[in-house]
Amino acid sequence: MESNSVAQQEHTEIVDQLGIRSLRPGRYFGSLPQYYVDRDHDKCIRCLVCVRQCSWDATFYDANRNIVYNKYENCVNCKRCVAMCPTQCIRIREWTDGFRDNDNWSDKNIRGIYKQADTGGVLLTGCGNDKEYSTYFDKIVLDASQVTNPSIDPLREPMELRSFIGRKPEKADSSRELSTKDYPNIVAEVPIIFAPMSFGSISYNFQEGLARAATNMGTYFNTGEGGLHPNFYKYGKRAIVQVASGRFGVSATYLKQAAAVEIKIGQGAKPGIGGHLPGEKVTAEISRTRMIPEGSDAISPAPQHDIYSIEDLRLLIYAIKEAVEYSVPVSVKIAAVHNVAAIASGIIRAGADIVVIDGFRGGTGAAPTIIRDNVGIPIEVALAQVDQRLRDEGIRHCGSIIAAGGIRSSADVVKAIALGADAVYIGTAALLAVGCTLCQQCHRGRCAWGITTNRPELLPRLPADFAEERLTNLLRGWSHEIQEMLGLMGLNSIESLRGNRLKLRGVGLTKYELDTLGIEQAGR
């Protein structure tokens, strides 16, 4: 068997040198192309911009024939060449000669099997769940004020988006001298926070852009599990820092300079499994940030090995609270799974000030495709259930809820907040804002858009000031839209919408689904 695979390796190397990828013994279909690069050779001026911009080894120039050509099997449809071509002579199309029509065995399934039969490995991917599960956000509609209650024009009247996130006092002291004890809260001027994305999974520049945009808009960014680069400590007051199962980059300074500390238990794209940053991606800067040796694999275990129960979680929460001297809120992030309401209740009772629920549409830098596509539950139902459970138990004020995973627009933000969230995390939306085309190749670390890579030659493709500008624009646009939506509902503060499910109605949902979401059927 081993000699077989060695022979296979040699074959592969030689065939690669020859540049004929389809001729691999026994692997006829493994390198079957998925995309066809349609280049108009009459318009191509051979400037070779596409050749230089392609980071996937898919575009080449043949000087003898004076022609730009592609290795189609390497094309991932990231559209970098399309965006950069000065004569617009490139279009990327599906490789149309697919397999015989079959609704059960889609091309994706067939290709997956070919690839696994070739390699015997686990298929990896990036970004979020792309399967066609129904999205509840698209089946929920908002209310508006007509005649009997006035709508508000946000351009003429004050409209409050400021959100306080963290534990609230049980009741305000009504005596003349206010003696209510305030718990540490984070104050977001817009209820939209950048999702945890670690330095290592995203580029240095992008993280700096996130930090600066969060500073501009008075909201927060999350460091992810990769620690905080010393250069970014100046954005510490806008940083939610993560303590994950690998404990990368965690130190007393790291915790103390942050606005909030987040214990990461799970991630929506890959609930219940850990992470693995390959050694070759651990560059000098990443090794410094993660506090691990350069070139060593950064492996996050699946569970936090000191947390096997709610009681254990309480120990860690209070250890962190002691470390930061009770000055900042502590958050716990879990993936949305079955029984999420009971788990969230336990987390709040364990002393967490914030519980983050990450839905199954949540993105990732790298996850097994099979897990990303099949594990977890939608954020809408998880959110509704958690909010209801905490209210029923009378502990809703003890912690805030942040919804993550699948927030695509300002309407989703409004719906999530009406379903009970105090704020939302946006990850994929932030990536899209800086040029991501959702080619789902983040795990390969050679993002042609310079977003999910730290290769020095690709880094300048996304300068930090571009990211800052575009992310600030996104948040500003969304906050205007949220204000408009609040105004038309007759509300002048995001607080009035929080958990206000009467503003929501369902369209095309079963009674059981409406019950689970805690909303009424449209028309009633």
Binding site: I45, R46, L48, A63, N66, T87, E457
Partner: protein, 194 residues
């Protein structure tokens, strides 16, 4: 005077500045005509070696001659072009008076006077001058061509390269002329020659 400066660490090696340069100096100002029909000038190959134009045409690898040039390292890139120095060594070095400074401060070329002696290339401290090998002014002599360098796109408000750069790696601005640039030309000879 405003000239084009590269911003270090922002170049992504796309060479769109060169494309824009070729187009802005073409008659049609349109990429396809500029590249295919309007006096192709070849002199660098893919590995940045000088190629004789006749050979390049035979090899079918035409690369139009732009006035800026992206220098490539494995991981860092930068585009360079003429800085129109306040004390322009090339103007001082030009024996025919082909290079001159116009009233706006730009260092320009009188094409009819250049004989291709290349003292300007020797003198330029930025390596910003290249050879336009398709033109020659000395009949009957196998010429090296004439001087070819950035003219800041003549009539355009900002140079084409600055306008197209996708990461704003080129800026068109006025800066104080560095003191050390005003010194006389000094040439340090390698040890074996000295």
């Amino acid at each position: 005077m405003k000239v084009v400066y590269p911003v270090l660490g922002r170049c992504i090696n796309c060479h769109l500045c060169e494309v824009a340069c070729v187009i802005s100096h073409s008659e049609s100002r349109e990429p396809i005509s500029a590249y295919f029909f309007e006096g192709l000038r070849f002199n660098w190959d893919q590995s940045q070696n000088y190629v004789d134009p006749a050979q390049a045409k035979q090899a079918g690898a035409p690369i139009p001659l732009s006035r800026c040039k992206v220098w490539e390292d494995n991981v860092s890139f930068t585009s360079t072009m003429c800085r129109h120095c306040e004390v322009a060594d090339c103007v001082l070095a030009c024996k025919n008076g082909a290079l001159y400074r116009d009233e706006s401060g730009r260092v320009l070329l009188n094409e009819d006077k250049c004989v291709g002696c290349w003292m300007c290339i020797m003198a330029c401290r930025f390596g910003a001058i290249t050879r336009n090998v398709e033109k020659q002014n000395v009949p009957g002599v196998k010429s090296n061509g004439i001087n070819h360098h950035c003219d800041l796109c003549g009539d355009m408000k900002i140079p084409a390269c600055v306008a197209v750069c996708p990461t704003r790696a080129l800026v068109y601005e006025e800066r104080d002329y560095p003191q050390e640039m005003e010194s006389e030309i000094t040439i340090e000879l390698p040890a074996e020659i000295a």
